[in-house]
């Protein structure tokens, strides 16, 4: 039915003007296996070969690969490729209006008996998302008391899409939220952070999702923004529905066009590639992402059945 299969290539190249004598990197480049997402094939190839490489799960359950290069090198190439199958989540959403957002807030605020711990992980300030009155003020018009949570969030999602301009030159990974809010421009990471900040300031639980969307659209449909780079959106906690994904960059809920890599409190928890190097001088970085649809093979379809 609504299973879609993708081939994802995520290429990262560093060039250094001087030798790097020691490099350690953490890679969040392996798609998560989820009830709605099967990972049919995946590998990460490195040039040069790393001296150490191992995989584990991070605190949030995302696969993470740690590599170390101990021999001097002047370039580093990381080629991650995956085949994933994503099912539509629309059918899983409970019909009818969701719980009122302020009722949800009260549930999350209660200390005893123990609240929904999983949601509480994503209620508070995190390194790149600090709650602020300005964020609450921006969000407020969408959150009339008693409004069903998912309605209100959808409205906020739409407003951010409308009010903010996508501009890759406006921000870096270090741009503070206050500036994004003031200047009304940024990229998908900024919009995700902004919306998470709005929701957390209101007392709701929101997490950051890192992933991909389809590069070339199906015929007749518009090309999605952020498709030739890694993408980011967010997930809001809604009792009864669990986590529901919203993509403010594209004014939609994330569904089977979105491939999930990892989630965390914000970008800093799930940076696709985060490292520390010794030496290196000037560095140049090139990142390329391509996501193409593939037609299911009989073998892959069987594999996908295990993760309906």
């Amino acid at each position: 039915m609504t299973h879609l299969r993708y081939h994802v290539r995520h290429e990262t190249h560093y060039h250094y003007s001087a030798p790097v004598v020691l490099s350690q990197q953490l890679l969040h480049l392996t798609p998560r296996v989820l009830p709605w997402q099967a990972r049919l094939q995946h590998d990460i190839r490195l040039e040069p070969e790393p001296s150490e490489s191992e995989c584990r799960e991070d605190y949030f359950g995302n696969p993470v690969t740690r590599i170390a290069l101990l021999a001097p090198h002047q370039s580093l190439g990381v080629h991650a490729q995956s085949v994933v199958e994503v099912a539509s989540r629309e059918a899983a959403t409970r019909p009818g209006p969701s719980e009122a957002w302020d009722a949800v807030r009260e549930k999350l605020r209660r200390i005893s008996p123990a609240p929904l711990l999983e949601a509480a992980q994503f209620l508070y300030d995190s390194p790149q998302v600090e709650c602020a009155p300005a964020l609450g003020a921006y969000a407020r018009p969408s959150f009339a008391l008693g409004r069903p949570l998912l309605d209100a969030v959808e409205d906020l999602n739409r407003r951010i899409f409308k009010d903010f301009e996508f501009d890759p030159r406006a921000t870096t990974i270090a741009t503070p939220l206050a500036r994004v809010l003031a200047e009304r421009r940024g990229v998908c990471q900024d919009f995700a952070h902004l919306m998470i900040g709005c929701l957390r300031t209101l007392g709701l639980a929101a997490r950051y999702v890192s992933g991909y969307i389809l590069t070339a659209p199906p015929p007749g449909q518009p090309r999605l923004i952020g498709a030739d780079a890694s993408h980011a959106w967010l997930s809001v906690f809604c009792p009864g529905n669990g986590w529901v994904d919203f993509d403010p960059t594209n004014n939609r809920k994330a569904d089977n066009e979105h491939v999930t890599l990892a989630w965390g409190r914000d970008f800093s928890d799930v940076t696709p590639m985060r490292g520390v190097i010794l030496g290196g001088g000037e560095q140049e970085l090139e990142v390329r992402v391509t996501v193409t649809p593939v037609s299911p093979s009989p073998f892959a379809a069987r594999a996908a059945d295990r993760h309906p």
């Binding site: 990262t12 560093y14 020691l22 350690q24 990197q25 953490l26 150490e52 991070d58 605190y59 949030f60 740690r66 170390a68 101990l70 200390i111 005893s112 008996p113 123990a114 609240p115 711990l117 509480a120 992980q121 209620l123 508070y124 300030d125 390194p127 709650c131 009155p133 990974i173 990471q189 780079a229 890694s230 800093s268 928890d269 940076t271 696709p272 590639m273 985060r274 490292g275 520390v276 190097i277 010794l278 030496g279 290196g280 560095q283 970085l285 990142v287």
Partner: protein, 826 residues
């Protein structure tokens, strides 16, 4: 009372008095001390004791950096003459309560970084963990050896008017103060030796032995004895003195992040002889700064990969990474039920009533009685001074309430504690006590047999009689803390008095690459300061009587050398004498341009990095140099003053060089310092000789002799005015003149071959040919300005010394300048 001793001592009405049960009636455990102060000791003896305390503090260099200022805002440690005295039966209660609390906090930590049952059961509010920046998610699931995360723990106690002790704050990150307590003990036990013995004061040494032995017990095992290090953020930290002191006392190398590297899932110390596996890190660096790869995305400090090493169990980090999550006043209110749940017993010592405003009822209660409370930040990541409700104006009060209501989980409200008072000795009076509010910091460490509490502690006294807060940052004083014993006292000493032949240590072990690098540069900058001061003295001296151009036979060479030594701008015209004079004076005093002031500043910066390795005399001399510098300032001084300054500087630098010659053991560290000095001098000599030679035969040579401090020697040997042949012989070939090329070259060669004995060839081959060439020079043909050989020789030698310096750096140094950098790719 007519006693002078108590003339200024107020009777405690609303406070507990540590010394007196009633006015003039000391408590039993204070009686001996009271008698001593009241009449037994003469005023002269008391004065001597006071002086002894101050002298010991000064001589041991005990300091507390107030604003972490490298320019010497180190403040001498404040230590009162009188200890706080606690009787054995009272101490037993404190000891049991502190050990219980440490056990409890450790259990809570294990749960937070393990199954988080306390959160699921609703015994801990998630906001206090998930909202705490000190909850380090990458550390979740790490299994600490022996189930211990909290190896060292400190707790701040206060005594209420009814005599009970209360907990004011828990210190779990990397508690400081135990080293200061130890230092206080060494000082005060020496001024009251009889009392100390007769009262049977419990000793502190076995506590530190327990700490050391327990760390060794839990260290990961391989075939070697464990290498344990103390990790410090560096000399700018406010308690750096203590880090250096404890490291020496425990026998651990003192290391900074640069000294360590993580590879193959292990942590290594970079030493002169290569990488050495580190088994235990006693850290004084905050945990979130420890690993730029996993723990903190905005700082490149620390050791990338150290978390992984801990995860694999290849290194023991004490306290475990993540322990900071316990530092929150908000936790206190939750401890009594947690104690029942985890230890099955009631909490022995209460905490000062503290409410976390994240609970709606607590928020209401706090806002209703704000006047009686002090408001603090819930989380240590929010650095905010405590606010006393009673101090607030109506407007500020309303503002505070608004902040409380908008983000209640960020605040705690705490009851004000009426601290007990204890006597301090009045320094300005022959025999008089004053009363000061005090707080007591007590220390515990984990051992395989449970927590052990240090029998003593760091007592801190408020500055004024009414202070509500006690803080060393704000100028409080400290006291030794005497815990009396009912039975015999353990006399174990870490500083073993009897050292047998098997204990002898002949060379510094584990000399780290960073220390060696700093010593090398200390040598270079000391010598560079000397060269600069002498050259400036020669140049500026030419302005004294007349215009320097009248010395036309030497002036162009001097200006040329100043230019090539970067003291004069090459643009500055050689005939514009007023401009040259201004430029030379500026090169003496202006730190913002190349010259003496800037070089001395560099020297001081490096000396600061070597703080714990330089003797007090070194510091005194460096301080004089620096004070001169500060006094000089960038203002234009007169020529005469400047020349006098330069004379003094030259003498001070020679004093420094005397210390390294006469006061340092000849270990590899000293060798690197000396190599630095000699390399620098050799380069300068080459440069000076080339400038002189370039000016042909007409050049007068007095300046060159003056620069090389060789005038006296020359005059004693030759009565004639300086001539080329004898001058070149003296400055190049005379192997007995410490300012000759030959002397420096041979010395340098010797150091390098010695180094080579331990580490293989170290560049001595680069120098060997020059020694041969110098010795083969033909006195008649070659020692004259036109000689084609000389100029080439000096140029090649200059190049060789540069190559040698780079060579040594690549081989031995940790490249302090080459810092870790974080990279991110999306």
């Amino acid at each position: 009372m007519s006693r002078p001793l108590l003339a200024a001592y107020p009777q405690a009405i609303a406070r507990y008095d540590e010394m007196f049960e009633a006015q003039g009636t000391p408590r039993p455990h204070w009686r001996a001390m009271f008698d001593e102060l009241d009449h037994a000791a003469s005023p002269e003896l008391m004065r001597e004791r006071l002086q002894s305390v101050q002298r010991q503090i000064r001589e041991n260099g005990v300091t507390y950096n107030v604003y972490a200022d490298p320019q010497g805002a180190d403040r001498p440690w404040e230590l009162d003459l009188l200890p706080l005295i606690l009787p054995p039966e009272e101490w037993a209660g404190v000891e049991a309560a502190v050990a219980q609390r440490a056990t409890l906090l450790n259990r809570i930590l294990l749960d937070i970084y393990g199954e988080q049952a306390l959160l699921r059961e609703g015994l801990l509010p998630p906001a206090l963990i998930y909202g705490h920046a000190g909850f380090l998610r990458p550390c979740h699931g790490i299994r600490p050896p022996g189930g211990v995360m909290l190896h060292t723990y400190a707790v701040d106690l206060a005594r209420s008017p009814d005599g009970r002790w209360w907990v004011v704050a828990d210190r779990c990150q990397a508690p400081s103060g135990a080293g200061y307590a130890l230092e206080n003990r060494l000082v005060i036990s020496r001024v009251f030796p009889e009392l100390f013995r007769d009262l049977k004061v419990q000793h502190l040494a076995s506590f530190f032995r327990t700490l050391r032995d327990s760390l060794a017990h839990w260290a990961p095992h391989d075939d070697e004895p464990p290498l344990m290090v103390l990790l410090t953020p560096g000399p700018y930290n406010e308690t750096y003195f203590e880090h250096a002191y404890l490291a020496r006392y425990l026998g651990f190398p003192l290391v900074e992040g640069h000294d360590l590297t993580a590879r193959d899932g292990c942590v290594w110390l970079k030493t002169l002889s290569g990488l050495q596996r580190v088994h235990v890190i006693l850290r004084r660096l905050d945990d979130d700064f420890c690993d730029p790869l996993e723990l903190r995305s905005d700082s490149a400090l620390g050791i990338a990969g150290i978390t992984e090493a801990a995860r694999r169990g290849n290194v023991l980090i004490a306290n475990a990474l993540g322990s900071n999550v316990l530092e929150s006043g908000a936790l206190m209110g939750f401890l009594p039920p947690l104690c029942e749940r985890l230890l099955g017993e009631p909490l022995k010592m209460p905490s000062v009533a503290t409410w976390w405003c994240g609970e709606p009822a607590a928020l209401e209660a706090a806002t209703a009685r704000l006047d009686k409370l002090v408001i603090k930040s819930t989380f240590p990541q929010v650095r905010r001074d405590p606010v006393f409700g009673e101090d607030l104006s109506e407007r500020r009060r309303a503002e505070l309430i608004t902040s409380l209501r908008s983000r209640p989980q960020n605040y705690v409200a705490q009851e004000l504690v009426r601290l007990s008072q204890a006597p301090v000795w009045d320094r300005h009076h022959p025999r008089r006590l004053q009363a000061r509010a005090i707080g007591l910091r007590v220390f515990a460490c984990a051992s395989p047999n449970g927590y052990v509490v240090m029998p003593g502690g760091l007592t801190r006294a408020a500055t004024g009689p009414d202070a509500r807060m006690i803080s060393m940052q704000r100028g409080g004083a400290s006291k030794d803390t005497w815990v009396l014993s009912a039975g015999p006292v353990s006399t174990f000493s870490m500083l073993r008095r009897n050292i047998g032949p098997q204990d002898l240590v002949r060379s510094g072990t584990n000399l780290s690459s960073r220390v060696v690098e700093n010593l090398f540069w200390f040598g270079r900058y000391a010598e560079r300061s000397d060269n600069t001061a002498r050259l400036l003295r020669v140049a500026a001296g030419r302005f004294i009587d007349d215009f320097p151009s009248e010395h036309d036979q030497e002036w162009p060479a001097i200006v040329g050398l100043c230019r090539s030594y970067n003291l004069l701008d090459p643009e500055c015209p050689a005939d514009d004498e007023p401009a040259l004079r201004r430029a030379l004076l500026a090169a003496v005093s202006d730190e913002t341009r190349p010259g003496l002031a800037a070089t001395l500043r560099q020297l001081f910066r490096i000396a600061f990095q070597l703080r714990e390795r330089l003797s007090l005399d070194n510091w005194r001399t460096l301080n004089h140099l620096l004070q001169d510098l500060a006094r000089r300032g960038p203002h234009r001084a007169s020529l005469n003053d400047t020349l006098a300054d330069l004379d003094r500087t030259v003498v001070s630098i020679m004093t420094l060089s005397g210390f390294s010659l006469d006061g340092m053991t000849r270990d590899q560290g000293w060798r690197f310092l000396s190599i630095g000095r000699r390399l620098e001098r050799l380069q300068f000599l080459c440069l000076a000789l080339r400038q002189a030679l370039a000016r042909n035969q007409e050049c007068a040579l007095d300046w060159l002799l003056e620069l090389a401090d060789s005038i006296i020697t020359y005059r004693s040997r030759y009565t004639a005015r300086p001539e080329w042949l004898p001058v070149l012989d003296l400055l190049m070939l005379d192997e007995s003149n410490p300012r000759s090329l030959a002397f420096q070259l041979l010395g340098l060669y010797d150091y390098l071959t010695r180094l080579g004995e331990s580490y293989g060839p170290c560049g001595d081959a680069l120098l060997a040919p020059f020694i041969g060439t110098l010795r083969r020079l033909d006195l008649e043909l070659d020692l004259q300005p036109q000689s084609p050989v000389l100029m080439g020789l000096l140029e090649d030698l200059g190049t060789a010394t540069n190559t040698l310096s780079e060579h040594l750096g690549l081989r031995f140094f940790s490249h302090v300048g080459d810092v870790n950098r974080q990279t991110f790719a999306t």
